[in-house]
Symmetry: C2
């Protein structure tokens, strides 16, 4: 007799009287187990003696109903322990109260703080964060982005690997904010590397270094170019020699592999594209008998988790990654509320964190 999918609202309130004879035949339980599958605005309407649409207005359009009915409805909602069904809401409105975040690699600690910053800020404003990973592949990234885009209100791309045009295309569909890369016409949050870098170079120069090497990151990374520009400029200013070395991959292993090139370059100070490279490089150099920082100074980038586990602890240019996540979410939610996006890239400050891996050169 029952035709299938109905919620069972028979047992609200402790009054479990005679369920079998009255309601059971017409109300099979719905979502799996548990008979409590939540109340709807129709239940509230019945209890409050008003129309469902009035309930809807009372609950989502402040001021549209009189204070009196508002109260009645809110009480009824509370009594029934009502929770909106996000899907039912999303269907007609398109609003999902959800934002997507795509990172290149979930296990890359660079992203941890971004994720946390975004999650915290989103939660605070009642948005849910959906996380996806591109496994460093531009294609996967585009796929993931497309898939996410249909279920979220907006998207945050952290250090995206896909090209600018793809990002603009996404951005034409729904609001998109980019972290760690600058793209015309798309709101961006980008750490301003120059402050941190010039602090680092100045400090190295002051410690007697005259030749510096920059170990670059992956070619698709927009940031690696920026950082090299910054290093080059700062070195010119401080009259240091600067060479750029390429790494095979931006990991501890990549750092180990580039150690030989570093030695051959004759540089006594190294700035690397990221902390992982710095750590690998330091391990390999120490294993070969070099003393850090007496013979060579090493400066990383990002101040990732674990940068202070090493001996000596790593000197590094800190990017405020948590803040990047927070800012990106804030911009996104502002845009969603109809505000304009900032027309220039939002820049956040970097700073040098001096630890043990950099210092005076002992000739």
């Amino acid at each position: 007799m029952a035709t299938g999918l109905f919620c069972c609202h028979a047992v609200y309130d402790g009054a479990v009287t005679d369920v079998t004879s009255t309601g059971a035949a017409t109300a099979p339980a719905k979502r799996g187990r548990g008979e409590k599958s939540s109340a709807t605005i129709y239940d509230i309407a019945k209890l409050a003696g008003v129309n469902p649409s009035t309930v809807s207005r009372a609950l989502s359009k402040p001021g549209r109903v009189s204070a009196k009915t508002q109260k009645i409805i809110e009480d009824a909602a509370a009594e029934l322990n009502y929770q909106v069904n996000p899907f039912a809401r999303a269907l007609p409105t398109g609003r999902t109260q959800t934002i997507g975040l795509i990172v290149a690699d979930i296990t890359n600690p660079t992203f941890f703080d971004i994720i946390r910053g975004a999650e915290t800020t989103g939660s605070a404003r009642d948005y849910t964060l959906v996380l996806a990973e591109s496994a460093e592949s531009p294609e996967t990234e585009v796929t993931a982005a497309r898939r996410l885009l249909s279920t979220v209100d907006g998207l945050i791309l952290a250090s995206p690997r896909m090209d600018d045009d793809h990002i603009r295309a996404l951005s034409a569909d729904k609001p998109v904010v980019v972290i760690n890369r600058q793209i015309d016409g798309v709101p961006c949050v980008v750490p301003d590397v120059n402050k941190g870098i010039s602090e680092a170079v100045r400090s190295l120069a002051a410690n007697g270094h005259t030749n510096l090497a920059y170990v670059a990151g992956p070619a698709q990374s927009w940031m690696t170019g920026r950082r090299w520009e910054g290093v080059k400029a700062a070195c010119e200013w401080s009259k240091l020699g600067a060479v750029r070395l390429e790494s095979s991959k931006p990991t501890v292993d990549g750092g180990r592999q580039v150690a030989r090139d570093v030695l051959e370059s004759g540089a006594t100070a190294v700035i690397t594209y990221n902390d992982l490279l710095a750590i690998g490089l330091m391990q390999e150099l120490q294993a070969g008998g070099m003393r850090v920082p007496d013979q060579i100074s090493i400066v990383g980038f990002d101040d990732i988790f674990g940068a202070d586990f090493t001996t000596p602890a790593l000197t590094t240019v800190r990017s405020p990654l948590g803040e990047c996540g927070t800012r990106a979410v804030t911009i996104l939610l502002d845009v969603l509320q109809g505000h304009d996006a900032p027309d220039e890239a939002v820049s956040v400050e970097t700073e040098l964190v001096v630890r043990g891996s950099s210092g005076r050169l002992l000739a």
Copy 2:
């Protein structure tokens, strides 16, 4: 004349003829910008010349329609670049193709691999992962879980901080899988610490150690008790003395603080609740002039990211965290497909990873 929310399907196919005069007044763009808001099964039905319900069946009920119409419909869908609207699907069915993962702390590296394992496995089976964080607070955790539960098909709790009854309550609503804790009646994935621990203790005994200290983690953590039990049993077996020391918090800082107690205990070998404690402890002991491992051996737990950044690199009992994530998702999806959950906790193997921080005691 237009009454509001309609998708603009006027411009399918490159034929952009005369939009203004025909469609513009009746078809305001819907979801923000971009006129492409996606095709529906109604569009497909029209194009294929069948009923929408047939389209629905062709696309989701394999075998329900004839091969011929199936093909026609699939072609039409491809031509229109159709994508199901997840909300429209979720509304009547309750299926969301989404699973929730709650972790205590997003920045705690213990969870990184769990997250990645879960994300990867979920993606492979077309499920989206939604991540939430409890900030180590049982209350926040319950709230987050409740909120998530209404929008996901199932939930994974990694090292939950809430009590057993809350978890059982959630589990009565929707499928729940727990990682790193064992609860009767709820499917669990738990690393079997005994193998790793006995390897560790045996190795320490073989290196001349006779007194061992275990540095415990937070009291709410079910795991800390398990690990202590394992250590105690293994020490009895190997005839080592074992004492349990408490830490203030399971972090690097907590490790530093417990150094004094470790020294006073007279133990020459330490096993800590997690790697962070081990790292902090090692830093503090080395700062005080102790040589690791010559004077004291340190063994951590989990093999987190960064455990090999230290000098010496950290010896640790590795839990296969990625596998935990994978297994948990697999179990959850199996349950969602109607299979039975395993009635015993699924156990995954731990193993000792010997690095430099443990070794022979040089008296």
